[in-house]
C-alpha cells in the first residue's frame, strides 16, 4: 500500500514538532494512545488569554507515517482557531485531507482525541467547566 502524497509531504516536513511548557496556565496538553498500541500522540495548544485564540500548537508522535501526518496536520489547523472552533475539527476531515485508507482511520481518530484532550486540559487548568469525554493524562 503506497502512501498518499500528502501523507508523505507531512511526514517528510512535519509542521510544529516540539514541546510547549506544560506548566504554563494557558498551555493545554493532550497525550493519547499507548505504546502497546503502536501510537502515542502528544498535542499541545497555547491559547492567547485575551482573545481565546490558539496562537501556537506543537506535537510529538510515536507512530506510523499516517499518525505523524495526522498530528502535523492537526497542529496546522489548530493555529488561529478559537478553542470552540478547534473542537469542531472532525477526524473525517483529516481522513479526507490526507486521503487515509481505511486501515489508517484510527490515526485520524487519535488526532481528534488529542485535540479534545489538549482543550480539556486547557479548560480544566483555567476553571472552564465543560462536559468532555476526552481523558487527559500528563
Amino acid at each position: 500500500m503506497a502512501y498518499s502524497t500528502k501523507v508523505i509531504e507531512h511526514f517528510q516536513n512535519p509542521r510544529n514538532v516540539g514541546t510547549l511548557d506544560k506548566a504554563k496556565k494557558n498551555v493545554g496538553t493532550g497525550l493519547v494512545g499507548a505504546p502497546e498500541c503502536g501510537d502515542v500522540m502528544r498535542l499541545q495548544i497555547e491559547v492567547d488569554e485575551a482573545t481565546g485564540i490558539i496562537q501556537d500548537a506543537k506535537f510529538k508522535t510515536f507512530g506510523c507515517g499516517s499518525a505523524i501526518a495526522s498530528s502535523s496536520l492537526a497542529t496546522e489547523w489548530l493555529k488561529g482557531k478559537s478553542v470552540d472552533e478547534a473542537l469542531t475539527i472532525d477526524n473525517m476531515d483529516i481522513v479526507e485531507e490526507l486521503a487515509l485508507p481505511p486501515v489508517k482511520i484510527h490515526c485520524s481518530v487519535l488526532a481528534e482525541d488529542a485535540i479534545k484532550a489538549a482543550i480539556a486540559d486547557y479548560r480544566k487548568k483555567n476553571g472552564i467547566e465543560v462536559v468532555s469525554e476526552a481523558t487527559v493524562v500528563a
Binding site: A34, P35, E36, C37, D39, T61, V109
Partner: protein, 406 residues
C-alpha cells in the same frame, strides 16, 4: 542519480538467481511438454527434466528422490503434511502438537483441523524463541500423531533444536513434521539425520522461482503416507494431483544445486555482514536484538528500536531500503507480530521492531548504506517521539495511565 534500492527482505522472498532463470527458459516453449504425457518425446523431455530436478533437490536434503513431492509452495506443503497426516492417521489419534511461533500456514491449518475434531497443543517458546524440550515431551500423549515445529523462524531466524525434537518424537513413536521454508538451501537441512519425517519448503526462499515448492515425505523407517488434499490425475505418487509446473520445478532444482555448492560460503559471508549491521547500530541507545543469537540463521536479525514505531521508521527510508517490521500498523487487527509477542516482548517493543534478512545478492555497500540510513531514521523518529522525550526526562512510562482509544 537513480534512486538507490536496497533489498533486505530476503525472508519474504529472494530474487530468482539468473542461473536459475536461464535453466528455466527452455521449458516454456522449446520443451513445453506435460511431464505426464507418456507417449511422445515432448512428455518424455519434461519428465526427464522433472526427474533431474527431483534428484538435485533430493541431494540437497540427503534424501531419496522418491521422497520429494512437488507442490505449489510451502503453504500447500504445510497443508498437505498436516491435513494429510491427520486424515491418514486418524485411527491412531487426533492430537497434534505445534508451537505458537509457527507460520500462519501451520497455525491456521491446525486451527481448521480443530474444527474437524483435532486436538491441538500450541507450545509456548522461551524468551529466546526456542521451545522447551521438556514441555514438548510432557505434551505428548497416546493420541498424539504429529509434532510440527518449524526449522527456522521467519521473523527472528531462530533455529529450533531439531535433533533433540527428533529424538523425542522417535522415542514416543510420533511423526515429526517441519516447516523448513526459511532453512532449506541456507543451512544444512537433512531430515533423516535429525529425525524429521515430513518437511515443507519452497523455491522462492532459496533463489528459485515462486509458485513451486515441495514436501519431503519419508519413504522408509518410517514409511509415511499422507492423504492427498488435491484429487485428480494421481500425480506425485498419488499424494498431489495436478500437472507439474515443469519450468518452475527445473528452476527449483537448479536453485537446490546452486545452494548445495554455495550455501556454506554464502552463510559465512552473510553472517559477517549481519554482525556488521548489528554492530553498526551499537551506538544507538535502547536497542534490542530479538531471539536467540547463537541458534539463529546466518542472514537474519530482528531488532527493536525502542520508542520508535517500526512502520514510521521504515517510512524514513523505505523508498530505498526494503525490510519488514513487526509493527502491525497496516494490518486491520492493529496487533503487532504474534511471534515477537510469544517471545515475551511487550507490544511496545514488538511495534518497534525491524526484521533484516540479507541474501546472496546483498553487498557490503548495501549494509553500510543501510546502517547510516537507519541510524539517521531512528534519531529522526526519536526526535519526533513523545515517549522518547519522556524516557529521556526520566519518566517511568510503565506508571503512566495511557488513554487508549478505540
Amino acid at each position: 542519480m537513480a534512486a538507490r534500492r536496497i533489498y533486505l527482505d530476503n525472508n519474504a522472498t529472494t530474487p530468482c538467481d539468473p542461473r536459475v532463470v536461464e535453466a528455466m527458459v527452455p521449458y516454456f516453449f522449446e520443451h513445453h511438454g506435460n511431464a505426464a504425457s507418456r507417449n511422445h518425446p515432448f512428455g518424455w523431455e519434461a519428465e526427464e527434466a522433472v526427474d533431474y530436478a527431483r534428484e538435485q533437490i533430493a541431494k540437497l536434503l540427503d534424501a531419496d528422490e522418491k521422497e520429494i513431492i512437488f507442490t505449489s509452495g510451502a503453504t500447500e506443503s504445510d497443508n498437505l503434511a498436516i491435513k494429510g497426516v491427520y486424515e491418514m492417521y486418524s485411527r491412531k489419534g487426533n492430537h497434534i502438537i505445534t508451537v505458537k511461533t509457527e507460520h500462519k500456514a501451520v497455525l491456521d491449518t491446525c486451527n481448521k483441523l480443530e474444527k474437524h475434531g483435532a486436538e491441538v497443543t500450541y507450545l509456548d517458546v522461551k524468551n529466546d524463541g526456542l521451545i522447551d524440550l521438556a514441555e514438548l515431551e510432557a505434551a505428548i500423549k497416546p493420541s498424539t500423531i504429529l509434532v510440527s515445529v518449524m526449522w527456522a523462524n521467519n521473523e527472528t531466524g531462530v533455529i529450533q533444536p531439531m535433533k533433540e525434537i527428533g529424538q523425542i518424537c522417535e522415542k514416543h513413536g510420533v511423526l515429526f513434521f517441519s516447516d523448513a521454508t526459511q532453512a532449506v538451501g541456507k543451512i544444512k537441512t537433512h531430515p533423516r539425520e535429525v529425525g524429521v519425517h515430513l518437511m515443507a519448503f519452497t523455491g522462492h526462499k532459496m533463489y528459485g522461482p515462486k509458485g513451486v515448492g515441495a514436501l519431503y515425505v519419508s519413504r522408509k523407517n518410517p514409511r509415511v503416507k499422507v492423504t492427498a488434499q488435491m484429487d485428480g490425475g494421481g500425480h506425485e505418487r498419488g499424494m498431489r494431483s495436478g500437472t507439474l509446473n515443469v519450468p518452475g520445478i527445473v528452476g527449483f532444482g537448479k536453485a537446490a544445486e546452486i545452494a548445495m555448492q554455495e550455501m556454506e560460503q554464502d552463510a559465512a559471508r552473510l553472517s559477517k555482514l549481519r554482525d556488521k549491521l548489528e554492530k553498526g547500530f551499537s551506538e544507538l541507545e535502547e536497542i534490542y536484538i530479538n531471539g536467540n543469537v547463537e541458534h539463529r540463521m546466518p542472514h537474519v536479525t530482528n531488532i527493536s528500536f525502542k520508542h520508535v514505531e517500526g512502520e514510521g521508521l521504515m517510512m524514513t527510508f523505505n523508498q530505498e531500503i526494503a525490510l519488514s517490521s513487526g509493527s502491525a500498523c497496516t494490518s486491520a487487527s492493529l496487533e503487532p507480530s504474534y511471534v515477537l509477542v510469544a517471545l515475551g516482548l511487550g507490544d511496545d517493543l514488538a511495534h518497534s521492531s525491524l526484521r533484516f534478512s540479507l541474501g546472496r545478492f546483498t553487498s557490503e555497500d548495501d549494509v553500510n548504506y543501510a546502517i547510516e540510513a537507519i541510524k539517521k531514521g531512528v534519531n529522526h523518529m526519536r526526535d519526533l517521539s513523545p515517549i522518547w522525550e519522556m524516557y529521556k526526562e526520566g519518566v517511568d512510562l510503565s506508571k503512566i495511565e495511557w488513554a487508549e482509544h478505540g
